[in-house]
Symmetry: C2
Subunit: 196 residues, 2 copies
DNA sequence: CCTACCGATCGGTAGG
DNA sequence: CCTACCGATCGGTAGG
């Protein structure tokens, strides 16, 4: 199966756009910036996308889809509540700080610029993702891995994790996986989570 | 002491701008939007500010200054490590979700649009603020109120707190103060923090 | 996919 | 603080 040249070019445009949107914001990025990044004239961009918003939608859906997939795959390999919580922390942070980091940051911070219909679709996907978190945390509470209200723990955890994009450096001392484990330990207290 | 009309107008512009920057982003807000919000012609705005960036700087400094002041005032009233940590959590969230919420959200999310010199000034202020957090958390670790690495706990906590602007609703069940206490309890585990 | 272009809007200024 | 305006740039289109 070969990837058509047009599809390939489209993907390059989406990747260039996600980097630019992250650096300069959606409103601060021009269609000329994006076209230039892949060696096109600005008018040619509209052969691949109907308008600028459509590029943003592609970036966001990409980030959201990969986040959900990573969580699913990680959870499929564990059944014990503490391990599932750990797998979810790791999957989230590995996706957030991995090679899709640009998409993820745009996903977190440019919701405002989304066209209404696509934004609603994204919110539906995000709600489903948060329900997964809710269930995993509820099971962890029941098992005594963590204490407290599950919804608060979920918001507390996702907030702390999502905020890492503000300060995490790849050349720092901790990998995303190690950082996820450290954060989880902060939440559970020492020695309540299995070491794998 | 009377406030001059000009100063008053300037303040109104800053407040209108902070609301607009929060709603539509800095790049998505035009000087015409801001001027219209206080009943001015767009050209007249430049009688009060040299340029658009200067308005953003005013909003950001406002938010950062009030955050630091709130923390100082809160800490001045406590000496016991657990109480100090609680006071800091409360002060941060009360400022973040209080009547300066627009300024605070702009402060958190529009750093990119700041002119270089003012941005460096803000970073200096933020570093000082985070050092206060670091010291309070280190004291709390020493006192056994929380376990773990102080720098990680600081980032975890500030991340979780700052993220509340994404989902907190004033008409929800918890006040900012109550939410701060709940979050702190999530961090410390049950019954390690004094109830006041 | 390029060339050539358009109408709209932007931040900002001059002169009063 | 308003009027009148400017040069630059924006997202997007027509025709090939």
């Amino acid at each position: 199966m070969t990837i058509s040249d047009s599809e390939n070019r489209r993907n390059k445009l989406v990747r260039a756009a996600s980097r630019l949107f992250r650096e300069k914001g959606y409103d601060g990025t021009t269609v000329r910036d994006i076209a230039r990044a892949v060696g096109l004239q600005s008018g040619s961009l509209f052969y691949h996308f109907r308008n600028k918003e459509e590029i943003l939608v592609a970036v966001m859906l990409n980030g959201m889809r990969r986040t959900s997939e990573a969580a699913e795959n990680a959870l499929a390999r564990h059944s014990e509540p503490g391990e599932r919580l750990q797998a979810l922390f790791r999957a989230h942070l590995e996706t957030l700080l991995g090679d899709l980091q640009d998409d993820m940051i745009v996903l977190l911070y440019e919701q405002r610029s989304m066209p209404a219909e696509a934004r609603e679709h994204l919110i539906t996907m995000r709600d489903a993702y948060e329900r997964v978190w809710q269930e995993v945390i509820e099971a962890a509470v029941t098992a005594g891995v963590v204490d407290g209200d599950a919804a608060l723990i979920r918001r507390f955890s996702l907030g702390a994790l999502n905020w890492t994009v503000q300060w995490y450096r790849k050349d720092g001392p901790l990998s995303p996986t190690e950082l996820a484990d450290q954060f989880l330990r902060t939440l559970t207290g020492p020695a309540r989570i299995p070491v794998t």
